[in-house]
Symmetry: C2
Subunit: 251 residues, 2 copies
């Protein structure tokens, strides 16, 4: 009867799924129980049912991993999938035209969630698909913040702002001053905000309804930036993605 009076089955299942990540794609039951903070017998019981439903699968050496079925059901009805699909040809075009890394991201629950990364050349070990960043840490976050409602901006800027890299701006006054310029140019150009040695440029994507729903950005290794060319290409790509979303919504 334990689950009836303490934490719900559902929140425990979420914690089990959330225990896996890039560095831990296959876990033994005891490690999984430790990471999830759930007693081993309960973990054992939940894992057995999750295996039977395909949410988990057995991995090598008595490990457990996330099931393909989980990926499938989480993705097939997700609005993020339609956004990614509308954007994909235009992200390709940016990659080909500018020869840089390209990102697609959304604001989600007070942080930036990276949806897609197209790699050009050497991987940038950060800001990859499914990573979540603070909003002030990247051009992607700042461009979406600039177009967010004032109350949201104030809420974000009133919280403690951590420093991701040496150049991350963590002074709310300085950040607040950036926003009108970003709104006017529709471009956030913030060298080093996210990752030392790299510069991001980002522009907003308007959804079918005309609101900013996402951001597309490009990443240059420091010293190779071509802000004029990047700005023009980003504005074109964002417009094309917006049109693709409008067309998709009229279908």
């Amino acid at each position: 009867m334990e689950e009836f009076y303490s934490e719900s089955v559902m929140s425990r299942v979420v914690r089990i799924i959330d225990s896996f990540d890039r560095g831990a794609r296959a876990l033994r039951l005891t490690d999984l129980a430790n990471r999830a903070g759930i007693p081993l017998p309960t973990t054992h019981r939940l894992v057995a049912e999750m295996l039977s439903l395909g949410l988990l699968e057995r991995g090598p050496n008595r490990t457990i991993k996330l099931g393909n079925r989980l990926w499938e059901i989480a993705l097939k009805g997700s609005g993020l999938l339609s956004l990614r699909e509308a954007a994909q040809p235009h992200l390709e075009w940016l990659l080909k035209s500018l020869r840089v890394h390209v990102n697609l991201s959304v604001l989600d629950n007070y942080s930036v969630l990276f949806l897609e990364r197209l790699q050009y050349g050497e991987p940038v070990p950060s800001g990859r698909t499914s990573e979540r960043w603070a909003i002030h840490d990247s051009s992607s976050g700042l461009v979406m913040l600039a177009f967010a409602p004032p109350e949201y901006q104030e809420f974000i800027l009133s919280r403690p702002l951590a420093r991701r890299s040496a150049e991350t701006i963590v002074d709310p006054v300085q950040l607040r001053k950036l926003l009108p310029g970003i709104r006017r140019s529709r471009i956030a150009y913030v060298p080093g905000a996210g990752l030392e040695g790299y510069t991001g440029l980002a522009t907003p994507i308007l959804g079918a309804g005309g609101d900013v729903i996402a951001s597309v950005s490009v990443i240059y290794p420091r010293g190779t930036e071509q802000p004029a060319a990047a700005t023009e290409a980003l504005l074109i790509a964002a417009h094309r993605i917006h049109m693709a979303l409008v067309n998709a919504s009229n279908e």
Copy 2:
């Protein structure tokens, strides 16, 4: 006490998530209950908790949709993410070299699960990311079947084989005869198997351990096929993806 004696919370949650798809990204509570086959009061209770955990979110006009948080936790620890990331630059290269649609897929639970689709030109309205197909319906499925254990092949070929398009081969004897040739050439070239008006060519991808773990394929509009060029490019791309997986596993 209902949930204790009938269906579990977990399998109902899976059915709720599974009720959303491309054609139904936002649902009202009653539609969701109907699709999931769960009584309305129970659906209401489960949805409330799923909203609080971020598995669901509120959409426009009193609808409910899948939460970004669900996408995030399902993806960040998934082995499918590492496969997609290892493959992505090489899928780009295929797109650029051959100027055709490119697919990445895996065998999962007796069907083909499409992981990624890079579009070239007009979208092909089928075989998109997160779609699941029968194995005999596509070059992707047939190439993975050709490299599967004999018992698995027999199991698949002994089941009823539905016809997806006019040219889908549904005769198990005829399908069985194709497999040795596919294994020798490492290419499945099956015009019209999946979709009228299109031809797929697929090759297997070996994982770090040397087993076939996935397939990469290209899709030509019928009459524009360039099988020699496609074969060479596919074999090169599959080799490069394999090497990327080997390198990733040694990190």
